[in-house]
Symmetry: C2
């Protein structure tokens, strides 16, 4: 057995025990992590400084350096996030339904952890703490692979967390694994016998690579091509700030707006002021031919633009002749992530919410709200554009599944078969 | 665009419209299918006769011929199944939660169909009707590939169903696709842009082939290595009939028992009578060395037997020294499908149900109960040993996912950021 197989097989064994850990014990472990991060914050910051220095020397881009940095403010934020997590209800052990199949024969559906979850994430080392704590609260073992630029920080974080939880109870032994190389990731993808789910957080190409190279289920999102649609019945006073916020509040993230669709009946009224507001934020505007007539001097948008996630201060604008055209454009070019309609027309809003096939469909508010913290989930392991298991921001609820428990008194199926078959009662309890 | 891509792209477009179809309209379409199958039953039986004759000439095995046959009794059974489906609640459009994020900003989580589901099934043509109607009720488009031995029957069933639903409303146009060749299946596996989920029903090798050759999520099960464990505190009067039923009630199915574990403290008492009862049903017994001492003359079981799904009148028996050993054996060799403990000891039963990592974990009743109809789901599209999305028998609930709807009044994220950030309310509604 290779070292990595030993680790994964140990995590799989530990996951069986961790699944039954009581809520109080899991919360004690979370509190121990919070204390340990607090006590170890100097050590964390020192390790993070090594990562920052090396990454600067290797000319890592400024926005990535910003994400890499872990200062005492961010550490306190992580600790307060852990306190919120302690206060959330345990997602494991809930009775989801109970049915009396027949006298003395009862079916119960109860929530259980998924098992072992592999999470691969990029530069932000705070993600390690969030994922490890969400995993623990939901009774899952996690195997983590962070960005190599954060390796010193990740090592100390993993050590502090592991020491904290194993000092609470031995049920937490071997529940967190840390991988450090790309080779480890490649080899992890082969162990579908030990790992139940992979959550990759990173570039489009990276997520596709994982999907194409593993038979383990993958949850996450590749693209985030989010749309705004300004309907003919839009309130312009709502449209401009919401579109500007969706585009510019944080451009490098998956829930930022990339393409704006505008109904032709309102384009002339809204586009000049909107363009001015976007230019104030240094947004480059690309537009279709009709948009260029209203906003002379902008760059033309091509077919390629409708498929592009800029993750930058760039927006593409297209004028459409109807709500239907907007919906069709979004379902064709969108990535099923987050899209918003600006309108005062409730019927148009409802139609948009019904027919746009995305994980979050919004009316009159910023796409940037699509986030586990803002949705009230405490935190998120990521945003899913899958259409199975969990969709949109994924918090604790997305980290559990269920099992069926059937309790009988010697019941056999033969008695429910053939001409004299007993009938099932199927009464909800 | 190839013919198959045209079909799949049409299904994808239709899935957007079907997602919003009202419950009444879907139920009318289901009733139209029931009428159409009733009126067309002679035509179905005639087509089925062609399949049976050809398959007999090709020397198809007797159990498969039995599954292939569709007589008027089975057709009436399908029709009554459709009536039950009409009476089940619509799984689509349910509000799963609502949260007031802030004044005037509301998050709702509502159930929606998955989209387009590809289902590949073997000889039983009744599966086509069950899957098409479960798909319709849950608002999903389905693309179906049945066994080639049933091709005439499948063709007429698909035609009758399609004619019935499209005569009800045009929203049902292009919601069902039928594939007929293996090449079609191979090419379908590439269209992850049109298909959201694949459900393969068939042999272990076949399911593995699908998993290894598609990046589309796959739901189903490969093996069904189900275990019984007779605890030291078992009631022998319960143990014998339950184990015999689990093993012999229908041997060729995934929820039939394959391996029996017996506590050493009760083996001497229970095994001779149990072996006699199994032999009465013509079951071949293979056993570990300790079992062979109690049941002289049986065949030895090897390591390979613990990994084998016989799907036949064969059982392997192992004597264990503890509940823990039984649980470990099941988690190591089992397939996460269905396992049962026979015991009068509630603590042992609870421990077994908590620690056996299978989709159905039973106490004192037959593994053969693990089935969508018996669980009260109306019908099932299959049994899943996945640990995400849906587990165990999968009925309507397993065919939906959710989307988040956010309604605001011009809310922007910038106001919830930085030093003067507004706080979220996150009140459950």
């Amino acid at each position: 057995m290779s070292e990595i197989e030993k680790m994964l097989s140990g995590l799989r064994d530990a996951s069986i025990r961790l699944a039954s850990a009581p809520s109080d014990l899991k919360n004690s472990a979370l509190e121990a992590i919070a204390h340990s991060l607090h006590r170890g914050s100097d050590e964390i910051i020192a390790a993070n400084k090594l990562d920052l220095e090396r990454s600067e020397a290797e000319s890592l881009a400024a926005p990535l350096l910003k994400r890499l940095k872990l200062d005492s403010g961010k550490i306190e934020g992580l600790i307060s996030g852990i306190s919120s997590l302690v206060n959330l209800p345990d997602p494991v052990g809930a009775q989801l339904s109970a049915t009396k199949l027949d006298d003395g024969l009862v079916l119960r559906k109860v929530s259980v952890p998924i098992g072992v979850i592999g999470v691969i994430f990029e530069s932000r080392p705070d993600a390690l703490v969030q994922i490890a704590t969400l995993g623990l609260k939901s009774g899952n073992c996690v195997v983590l692979k962070g960005g190599s630029e954060a390796k010193e920080t990740n090592r100390i974080l993993a050590r502090l967390i592991t020491e904290a939880i194993t000092s609470v109870d031995e049920v937490f032994d071997d529940t967190i694994g840390l991988l450090e190389t790309r080779e480890d990731v490649a080899s992890m993808l082969e162990y579908d016998n030990y790992i139940n789910l992979i959550i990759p957080r990173g570039s489009n190409e990276f997520v596709k690579y994982i999907q194409d190279n593993s038979s383990i289920p993958v949850m996450g999102h590749a693209d985030g091509i989010c749309h705004g649609y300004i309907d003919s019945e839009a309130d312009i006073e709502v449209a401009i700030p919401v579109i500007v916020d969706s585009k510019t509040q944080y451009v490098a993230v998956c829930n930022a707006l990339e393409t704006l669709l505008v109904h032709e009946g309102i384009a002339q009224q809204v586009l000049p002021d909107l363009a001015a507001a976007l230019k104030d934020k240094n947004v480059l505007i690309k537009g279709c031919a009709k948009t260029m007539q209203i906003l002379p001097g902008i760059e033309p948008a091509t077919e390629e633009d409708w498929k592009t996630e800029y993750l930058d201060y760039t927006v593409s604008i297209k004028i459409v002749d109807s709500l239907d055209e907007a919906i069709n454009h979004i379902n064709r070019y969108g990535s099923g992530h987050t899209d918003v309609i600006i309108t005062r027309d409730r019927a148009a809003a409802s139609k948009f919410q019904a027919l746009v096939d995305s994980s979050s469909v919004m009316v009159n508010c910023s796409t940037r709200f699509a986030d586990g913290f803002r949705y009230g989930f405490g935190a998120e392991v990521g945003i899913s554009t899958n259409k199975i298991h969990a969709r949109g921001p994924v918090g604790l609820d997305g980290l559990v599944i269920y099992k069926f428990l059937v309790d009988g008194e010697g019941h056999i199926v033969e008695n429910y078969s053939g001409p004299d078959a007993r009938a099932f009662k199927h009464e909800k309890m």
